[in-house]
Amino acid sequence: MPTTPQHLTELAHLVDQVHTAAAKRQPLTIRAGGTKDFYGNKFHDNTAVAERLDPGSYSGVIAYQPTELVITARAGTPLREIETLIAAQGQMLGFEPPHFGVGATFGGCIAAGLAGPRRAGMGPAAGATRDFMLGARVLNGTGQVQQFGGTVMKNVAGYDVSRLFAGSMGTLGVLLEASVKLVPRPVTEDTRRLACDEVHARALLSRWARASIAMSASCWSEGKLVVRLSGAYAAVTHGIAVVGGEGLSRAEATVFWSAVREQTVDFFAQSLPLWRVSVPATAESLALGAPELQEWGGALRWVATPLPAATVRARAAALGGHATLFRNNPGGVAAFTPLSQTQQSLESRVRAAFDPLGIFNAGRVHANAAC
């Protein structure tokens, strides 16, 4: 996994492109596999003028020693390549990121910051993308290469910038390389399915969470609650006894959770605007009059509805959360819940610390971001 002259050439190309763009104030759209083009605001104002920067060919694993529980790879490395490599060593990414297409890259999955079914699981093997970030090498908006964090598990030297890049949607800079913490695959897993309504499902999930049941994922929709148990044999056996319901076969379970993660279950095959509503898991029902699919113990509620954005967002806010228009934007609706003026100006100043000219992915997160 050494650095080859070709890697250096690829890196030099990226640096040159940013230098040139910065000199001309040329907006850049960072895009490799393009599997998450749908996410965030359309590049509306800048579509015509933005030039594409493609980190896809800056690819390859840099370091992987299974006993260190860390992998360091270039941003363009295919996500499936990383998952295959670590699976062979009995390890996995604890945030179970969705691919949303065959072209998904390591860098894209971190920049999007989307976590899959395991996001709200119990124990150390679950969490958000940011929870597993250890280090990042990035290219800022003036063409400088900066290196944050490292490869060790605990590191409080300097601000924790590598976590900040998770979910930054390419608005801070070009992620070049990243080190993420890996987790061992569970000794065993079992998936249970039981019939129950939405309110009851959340009550059960909350009770089981408090009782340390080894849940690594949950999915409720259409009156059915599906729970994945992961861990030691004893933990999973205990979980089966408590959760009950019917068991899915190993093959069925694999297909099911993959479909939830990749949003290929029927629920997502709708053309209505799809909202990703994030609320405290114990919040009451959204009650927007549309079917929902709920993950993360009830903390993530997907709903497809033609209701105005203001209505959906007001309801989410009333429940202590926020709503993102995830897919099928009818046009003109801001994808993300707008921030308060103070937060917005603070964010702008932090962005300017990395990209003072505002050349990266302008408008992708906040439609009014200056370029």
Partner: protein, 497 residues
């Protein structure tokens, strides 16, 4: 080699009078301290090597007080240094001679505890252990457990991104805090994170945690609580060589086990603590590992068996599994009391905090043994082996200038070695004033410039805890000149990423 401190020196008495008057117009007299006998207890934190009397100590009792103090400080252009319990080990709460030391100790209320949602909303002055005590009736606790958890506050934990012996499994502060609210240096209210997951915009909470009080003053923290395991048991494993113990650590991880705690103590450390705590450590072993499992009864039995098998296969000469809770706590008592024990066998000790890749453990420990001879100082080692976080304790005598100089040089050499093997100078204690020079070695100039720009984004006045956490470019330039033995670039041969 100790950093020249920013914010040191004598107190400007006319300025002090002006600021006291302005603060007393808002706060009661007993919440504004300025006489030396009153401010003396605040002259240092847990890193007693550095001391400075603050110009003023302000003791707000409410969030509104904090806001008002910040506004007054802004109007008068005075630096502000936030402080929790003062247990920090890197001088992060060292006062500023021309500044206000903002003690958040009185903001110590648990505001809300939601057992259903498994969260607690607390003020920054609430002690770490007090959160777990408040959660206990609901079968919950707050997972990060720094050794100082009896005294240290959650505000300080947020500032330092504190860990603890159980963070291998349960994560650091950053993984257990859902949201914070507070004020910018100008007294503007801000909130980061929320009870709902993965909010819109940048994850600025990740910057706030571990920012050592340089970005905002935190006035409220929403923490995640976790269910208390039914049972915990701990294996004490003896090894005939330190390297063998290091290999066993790697083997446990390779076997796919994440123990609740995985700690190592070398022989010098076990012999140092045993007389005080009577933990029952194997004093003949070159090193011992403490390897803990928690969960349900069956789960723990299964994991203890797996861990025992791995440890035995990797050279453990003796295994003892805690038979009951009293014995488990005794195993840990030695580890958790290593710092106080060092204080009893030596007039002074200096605790290092480098973190290294696990596979470098043997190399680094052997280098530290050579340094003991080189500097003629003893250095027992206790560390969070599971995550490669070393705590070498350099024993010295602060009344002997030569001993201090040797301890200092010893510490610097350990930190530089940590960087050289691909690690970091601080895993959990923070940079503070103590390691500010080493940051010049760990990060290149363009990366340090980003840190400075982030700081300016939050605090354009640079009055919030100045001189801590992030070195100025000027400081690094000076340090680079003084630090000639490595030339302009530290360890250029190493590809650190």
């Amino acid at each position: 080699m100790q950093p020249v401190l920013e914010g040191g020196g004598a107190i400007d008495l006319p300025l002090q009078q002006r600021v006291v008057a302005a603060l007393r117009a808002y706060l009661p007299a007993d919440a504004v301290l300025f006489e030396a006998e009153q401010t003396r207890p605040y002259e240092c934190d847990g890193l007693t090597l550095y001391r400075q009397l603050p110009m003023i100590v302000a003791l707000p009792a409410t969030e509104a007080d904090v806001r008002e103090i910040l506004r007054i400080a802004s109007a008068l252009g005075v630096p502000v240094v936030p402080r929790g319990a003062g247990t920090g080990l890197s001088g992060g709460a060292l006062p500023h001679a021309a500044g206000i030391l903002l003690s958040l100790a009185k903001l110590n209320r648990v505001l809300a505890l939601d057992p259903e949602a498994r969260t607690a909303r607390v003020e920054p002055g609430v002690r770490n252990l007090a959160i777990s005590q408040a959660a206990e009736p609901f079968g919950l606790y707050y997972a990060p457990d720094p050794s100082s958890q009896v005294a240290c506050t959650i505000g300080g934990n947020v500032a330092e991104n504190s860990g603890g012996v159980h963070c291998l499994k349960y994560g650091l502060t950053v993984n257990n805090v859902l949201a914070v609210r507070g004020y910018t240096v100008l007294g503007e209210p801000v909130e980061f994170g929320s009870a709902a997951l993965d909010g819109p915009g940048l994850d600025l909470l990740s910057l706030i945690v571990g920012s050592e009080g340089t970005l905002i003053v935190v006035t409220e923290v929403l923490v995640r609580l976790v269910p208390k395991p039914v049972l915990a048991r701990c294996i004490m494993a003896s090894f005939a060589a330190v390297d063998a113990a290091g290999d066993a650590v790697a083997a446990v991880i390779a076997a796919g086990i994440i123990p609740a705690g995985l700690e190592m103590m070398d022989q010098a450390a076990t012999r140092m603590v045993e007389p005080f705590v009577k933990a029952g450590y194997d004093l003949e072993a070159a090193a011992i590992l403490l390897c803990e499992s928690d969960g349900t009864v069956d789960e723990v039995a299964e994991e203890i068996e797996r861990m025992s098998a791995v440890l035995r296969a990797h050279g453990a000469t003796r295994l003892a599994v805690s038979a009951n809770e009293a014995e488990r706590l005794r195993f840990w008592a030695g580890r958790k009391n290593a710092f106080p024990a060092a204080g009893r066998v030596s007039p002074d000790y200096y605790c290092m905090d480098g973190t290294i890749p696990r596979h470098q453990l043997g190399r680094v420990l052997s280098a530290i043994r050579d340094m003991e001879l080189k500097y003629n100082l003893r250095c027992p080692n206790v560390f969070h082996a599971g995550d490669g976080n070393l705590h070498p304790l350099i024993l010295f005598d602060a009344n002997d200038a030569d001993s201090v100089a040797r301890a200092d040089a010893f510490g610097v050499e350990i930190l530089e070695l940590s960087i050289a093997v691909g690690g970091t100078v601080t895993g959990e204690h923070g940079v503070g004033v103590e390691k500010i020079n080493q940051l010049c070695l760990q990060f290149d100039e363009v990366t340090r410039a980003a840190f400075i720009n982030i700081r300016l984004a939050f605090d354009p006045t640079q009055r919030l805890n100045p001189g801590k956490a992030i070195p100025t470019l000027h400081r690094c330039a000076e340090y680079g000149r003084a630090h000639v033995h490595h030339g302009a670039v530290a360890f250029p041969e190493l590809e650190r990423f």
